[in-house]
């Protein structure tokens, strides 16, 4: 069987992925018309390119429908339950950096750490009659992080976009979101907790533990790994 490599189908993430592989002597490119989602791999025999939305790559890896995939480590850890048992992070690729952080209004002069957030949540719940709401789309990562830190009296509210605006709009009291420079947070009068870094994400090459690995796929993988300088 062919070795299936899932890569992001558009945008900077796709271009940087192509550049990264090219830098290792593996040429991948889109083929056909500009709108057609098909691609080719040159440099390794028996490899097939699968163009996917970056957000779907974790699911395809977990289901074993692709052998390898490039996507953000945040998406893998958020979307795959018990991710380490189902995929292997082969290589961080050095682009697509983003930090998942907890941020609160800058006017909360009393809150700098998770410890403060916990105490503020207790007082907030007593005063306002409901748990302190944290807006995010990274439910699993944020919940695990806050549980580990022993923060109580909060609840997560789902926010799929414009999360930095939820505090001003009174739909949340704090947020957990991806930031690269922190500029949007600052513009929305938010500050990052000093120990509020949940995950430092970057584009990463993952290998599926769930995919079928026959001799042909293994041979292709060994050839690719040699090119990329990985321990196969």
């Amino acid at each position: 069987m062919t070795l299936k490599l899932g890569v992001p189908s558009k945008g900077r993430l796709m271009e940087k992925t192509f550049d990264w592989f090219a830098g290792h002597g593996v040429n991948i490119r889109r083929t056909g018309s500009e709108r057609e989602y098909s691609g080719a791999v040159e440099g390794v025999e028996g490899m097939e390119l699968v163009l996917l939305s970056a957000g779907e790559i974790p699911r395809e890896l977990a289901a074993g429908r692709i052998h390898l995939g490039v996507t953000g480590s945040d998406l893998v850890q958020e979307r795959i339950a018990d991710w380490e048992s189902r995929v292997v992070a082969l290589e961080p690729m050095g682009f697509g950096f983003a930090d998942l952080v907890i941020a609160v209004p800058r006017c909360w002069a009393d809150v700098d750490t998770l410890d403060d957030l916990d105490a503020a949540a207790a007082a907030f719940r007593a005063a306002h009659g409901h748990r302190l709401r944290v807006a995010t789309k990274y439910h699993r990562l944020v919940r695990d992080f806050l549980r580990e830190a022993g923060v109580a009296d909060y609840q997560l509210v789902d926010s799929q976009g414009a999360t930095e605006g939820t505090v001003k709009n009174l739909t949340a009291e704090a947020i957990a979101d991806i930031t690269s420079t922190g500029e949007t947070l600052r513009a929305n009068h938010l500050k990052i907790l000093s120990d509020g870094l949940i995950h430092r994400s970057q584009a990463t090459l993952f290998k599926s533990r769930e995919a079928m690995w026959d001799d042909a796929a293994r041979d292709s993988f060994r050839a690719l790994a040699a090119r990329l300088g990985l321990d196969a």
Partner: protein, 369 residues
């Protein structure tokens, strides 16, 4: 692997045992309003329960346990005292271990409104002990009420006590707070800076400089906590001797009579736990009167601290020593505070527990082989 029909037959046997003991059989809906459960258990329950929704009723949860709906039912309509038993599926999402079932049967027994807590605790434990006796399980007991009483007896401000009580169920956070209140952990640098700045400029100046007020947490909320921080900073640390007493107590793990004697010694310096110890002693007497060999019964002071936080008194569990891979076959405890939260002003003493019949069946078969 037992079939569902076999598990149900086993469940029915246990259910009949509790009915014969005088409990009224009750049923609850499988779909429960998510809001109540989320408000009670917090975000953790969302990771453990199946959440679904419809356009009319909003978020619903597939019943993760019976306790909440049974308490609600009793608080609305029940007279005291009352004994209930139930039997049915509960649903738990499993994210880590695919071998753990996400749907299983629970058979439970709950006792509400008994005037004598020691006798009520003993009644529930003795029933579970009796019905499980053929399996030769190890019983573990503890008492969250004792820990809450110990915290209440430390020489510290009510605010510090409340902070510790709130985290009795999160041992690591509890430890961190205790270290701070005991002066064993240094004040974090940003906090030290904030306190110095408050001293120099006053809280109002800090609030003015902090940025525009956004969100529901108001300037008054922030000011109140700044004030609380300043007050707390002026508090002396609690004495190392007191921290040691609490540490000593938390590490107790011995037979009930030895644990009681040990804690009576602690109570000389921490008299606030004496009433809770009297209750424990009365419970042991009541257990002995029901035929439980309390001299062999284990007591573990920290038992129950990592389970869901509604237990606030006696707690117990039954474990198969030959099968450490299995979850407890049965567990339960006292949850007076939960009835207050769900009772809209009314509260009744309540104690109960659940058994997992599929584990009873598996162990029965193992024993038979």
């Amino acid at each position: 692997m037992a079939s569902k029909a076999e598990v149900l037959a086993q469940a029915e046997r246990l259910h009949a045992f509790f009915r014969d003991a005088g409990a009224a059989p009750v049923q609850t809906a499988i779909l429960q309003p998510a809001g109540t459960l989320l408000d009670l258990y917090g975000e953790d329950i969302r990771a453990r329960a199946y959440v679904t929704s419809d356009a009319l009723r909003g978020e619903q949860m597939l019943r993760p346990d019976f306790t909440v709906p049974v308490v609600q039912m009793h608080m609305e309509a029940g007279g005291d005292p009352a004994r209930y038993t139930y039997c049915g599926e509960v649903f738990r999402r499993q994210e880590r271990d695919p071998s753990r079932p996400n749907e299983y049967i629970q058979v439970g027994y709950e006792l509400f409104g008994s005037e004598n807590p020691a006798e009520a605790d003993a009644e529930v434990f003795a029933l579970f002990s009796e019905v499980l006796s053929p399996l030769g399980l190890r019983a573990a007991t503890g008492d969250i009420g004792l820990l809450l009483a110990a915290v209440g007896g430390l020489s510290m401000t009510p605010r510090r006590k409340a902070a510790l009580r709130r985290h009795v169920w999160r041992p690591r956070r509890f430890r961190a707070l205790l270290d701070r209140f005991g002066g064993r952990a240094p004040v974090p640098e940003p906090r030290r800076r904030l306190l110095a700045e408050m001293e120099a400029k006053g809280a109002e100046a800090i609030l003015d400089a902090a940025g525009p007020e956004i969100g529901l947490r108001s300037r008054a909320d922030v000011a109140a906590r700044l004030d609380a921080l300043a007050q707390d900073a002026a508090e002396p640390p609690i004495s190392p001797a007191e921290v040691e007493l609490l540490d000593d107590m938390l590490s107790i793990r011995e037979t009930c009579p030895n644990a009681l004697a040990h804690m009576r010694d602690i109570a000389v310096d921490l008299p606030a736990i004496a009433p809770a110890l009297d209750l424990m002693e009365a419970r042991l007497d009541a257990l002995a009167a029901l035929g439980i060999d309390v001299d062999l019964l284990e007591f573990e002071a920290s038992y129950g601290r990592t389970t869901m936080e509604y237990y606030d008194g006696f707690v117990f569990g039954f474990f198969a020593e030959t099968r450490p891979d299995l979850p407890p076959v049965a567990s339960g405890g006292r949850y007076d505070a939960l009835t207050r939260i769900l009772g809209q002003g009314r509260a009744v003493p309540a104690v109960g527990g659940v058994i997992r019949p599929e584990l009873v069946l598996a162990l029965t078969r193992e024993g038979g082989q």
